[in-house]
Symmetry: C2
Subunit: 166 residues, 2 copies
DNA sequence: ACTGTCCTTTAAAGGTCACA
DNA sequence: TGTGACCTTTAAAGGACAGT
């Protein structure tokens, strides 16, 4: 197996990656994304030229899914993973308080369900990490208290192209 | 200059990049991000333990900047670059209509200012591309008409960790 | 037609507080 | 004290339409 990669190829991959993460496509080729949340909107129907046509619309929607931690109903991703409001809050509080004192009174393998999720904090916390929740996404430092979407970074292209105006 | 890079290092860089793009940090080490937009919010003051303290708050704010294309005042990034509403709209319409018939009546190097920006479409369009606006960020296909933030992709960690529940 | 101001719509951050 | 249903706040996508 190759242990090195050409710098040029590396740049290509990075650029491609950044292009994807700049605007995630909710298309068929990336089901994992459509799985992330429910949605409902009207999309423009294509196939005709833009000039001289009445706009045609089509309803697009997708049902909600369940929390990756406990299985309760969930509408959006929180800290990187589709979860319910309860597990979202639990994860945030745990990260913010830096808690590492949870103990499991059983064997450390408790199943987490909507009804019992608050019984064993250790196993709930472990489950949060296993499904991929990102502690780093809980805002701290300068960003503590900052709500809502954060501004996106500039296009990586700016690192390579000459920008004649700053 | 190196023309190859170790695969392991490549993975590290990619992971680091994705970690950053998951939650961009608006801190001092990444001024290009704080430069992107204006903001104003209250942040929690740190330095004390979480238990048994009254929350302290501090105002944080930053003035708005100017459009990278024409220099008019701008509040947010559009299609990857801080621009005014006018240049945002011009860029969107141009991409959506797939226009490539613009011509410059001068030498193709018109300066773009708030007052003359609509005089030469070709030079305005070239300027949009030079400063890094991303045509791909104009939604088309399934996403045509879809408003607002799109759901984020799952954390790249999911590609490497075993996920025992789907 | 084209422009650009103003508006609505998104997902997902953090905050609130009755309830246990 | 911890929980979680519900709320506000973000940046930035698209839409509307009066003005040119
Ligand atoms: Zn849950
Ligand atoms: Zn347990
Ligand atoms: Zn502009
Ligand atoms: Zn010109």
């Amino acid at each position: 197996m190759e242990t090195t990669i050409h710098y040029q190829q590396f740049i290509e991959i990075l650029e491609n990656y950044q292009r994807q993460s700049f605007e995630p496509m909710m298309d068929n080729s990336m089901d994992s994304i459509t799985d992330l949340s429910c949605y409902s909107y009207e999309r423009r129907i294509e196939g005709q030229s833009w000039e001289n046509q009445a706009l045609a619309w089509e309803k697009v929607s997708k049902e909600c899914h369940s929390c990756a931690v406990c299985g309760d109903s969930a509408a959006y991703a929180h800290y990187g993973v589709l979860t319910c409001e309860g597990c979202k809050g639990f994860f945030k509080r745990t990260v913010q308080k830096g808690r590492s004192d949870f103990v499991c009174l059983k064997t450390g393998t408790c199943e987490i369900t909507p009804n019992n999720r608050s019984w064993c904090r250790l196993c709930r916390w472990k489950r949060c990490l296993i499904v991929g929740m990102v502690p780093n996404a809980v805002r701290s430092g300068h960003l503590a208290g900052r709500r809502g979407k954060l501004p996106k970074r500039k296009h990586i292209a700016d690192l390579y192209f000459l920008n004649d105006k700053h």
